[in-house]
């Protein structure tokens, strides 16, 4: 069973493991690291962050003090 040991992290039996792409494709896809994903995720988080700051300073603070 040593041969399919690496499958255990996805599923215990090989028929339940999907690998639509092989190692070469995965290597090729990751040659430059997941840069595209970093860009997309960064844009999303940046929007979230700026939106939050905008809400805090442009909406919440002008509505007056509370405590």
């Amino acid at each position: 069973m040593a041969t399919d040991e690496f499958h255990h992290s996805a599923a215990a039996r090989p028929e339940h493991v999907a690998a639509p792409i092989g190692s070469e494709e995965a290597v090729a896809a990751l040659r430059n690291g997941p840069v595209g994903a970093l860009v997309v995720a960064s844009i999303a988080v940046a929007l979230l962050f700026l939106g939050w700051l905008a809400f805090y300073f442009l909406l919440f603070i002008p509505r007056g003090s509370v405590g």
């Binding site: 255990h8 990751l30 970093l38 995720a41 809400f55």
Partner: protein, 549 residues
Amino acid sequence: MQNSSRLALYHYWVAFAVFLPAVVLGAWQMLIRSPLPAPLDDPDAYYASVTLHGTAMAYVVTTFFAMGFGYAVTATSLGRPVRGVAAAWICFVICLIGTLMAVAAVLAGHASVLYTFYPPLLASSWYYGGAFLLIGGSMIWVVLMIYNMTSWKRDNPGRPVPLAMFAITATAILWAWAASGVIVELVGILLPRSLGLTTEIDAGLARTLFSVTLHAIVYFWLMPAYIAFYTLLPQAAGGRLYSDTMGRLTFIMFIIFSVPVGMHHLFADPEHGAGMKFLQSFLTFFVALPTLLTVFSICASLEIAGRARGGRGLLGWIPALPWGEPMVLATGLSLVMLGLGGFGGLINMGYAMNSMIHNTSWVTAHFHMIFGGAVVIMYFAIAYEMWPRITGKPLQSKALARWQLWLWFAGMMIASIPWHITGLMGQPRRVAVFDYSDPFVARMGPLVIISVIGGAILLVSAILLIVILVRSQLGERRLEAPLRYALAVNPPKTVPAALNGFALWNAILLVLMVFAYGYPIGQFFILKSKVPAYEVSGPTNSVGGVDGP
């Protein structure tokens, strides 16, 4: 049909059979709140309806879906039949009885207290009893998930628990922690009072206990969606999971940070000091981490798939993805709604900033975006993924499924975005009818009408869902296709013990819970804050009108 498949199918069907009428109620509720004429414009019916809608969506649909998903994941990811099938069926029956009891009590008009209970309002003991059987019954499932995982670990020493199984066990453990609050509230406060065993209710304590549940329950709803992100999506997209380890870490962080943060639902409450509120606001920030981590991991997994399919350039992998696959499409739509809903959440948890939107339609919009949007659309995708595997018949059809997902997305956006705005304008939640002749209310009228249109679209989508599932199941053609989980780029041969079990994390959570909730709950043993209860359907005790001595 395999026993575990039948188990999953029955659970899914209860969930979706309850889901459709609950959507009908939701759409009608939006109508009666709007300036448009509604059939049956009776405020009492609205409050009963909100109770039913909330109970159905928050407890019934989610619990049954998660349980069914859990059995399916256990059987397929461990590659062996679910252990304890008899107990699973008993659990199913108990939860179903609880559901029927609660629904009957609401329909009889004896339980218009909303699914969050709001003591000292007091509903019929049938409602609380039903809720207790449903939530308490699901603890059998929790035990089964843990048992299946640990027994597999025992049989396969040194091997990593499959990620999907690890994650569903995390879901079960999270649910046990989350449900502890509402179970203690039901057993310790509400059931005894509704049965007449006690005379008073500690409303502050009851609210505090419920807050233990109230935030973590959202992550219980969310977890199946995240499991799909990590274990089903990469293969549906035709790629690999970027990192198995980060998946495990994400689910662990959900367990740790989703429970000791519930007090951000009580920021506006007078029974807790600001210091304790800050502590939990601070911890709440960290519950955003696993989601932010997931956003990146999922994008990376999709990028692998997109590039493998020929996508070039910085963003060329995005159009290269197989958007025709329901799972991929649902994930894309889900992430958009998760972004908007998460943004709302960051506002809500912002300590004093919560005052800006507390109990306005903003909050309703926020959790509809997160749960009704991001999570439920993944439930649909999971159902579409699993239906062929558990019924042995192909999906009828993918095109229809795409329509259904797009309609749900459009409906939820159209319904929720105007709510966010009316919430900021100060529209209160849970109000049956508004006086649109009041200029303050009238300004919200057009926005409310837009959201009604969204509600109608959601209803169409929900009907379509049932049509697709029924048509698929009644189909003739047989299909043999086992459920497949995504392989990681580097499938780990071994994982650290800490990432292969939950003992360490349960211990840490216990410490954090004592830190975050020890004093807030403990103070009620000193405070004199018990108050009389108010039965929503009139007096049933001795002071009642016709029941006199």
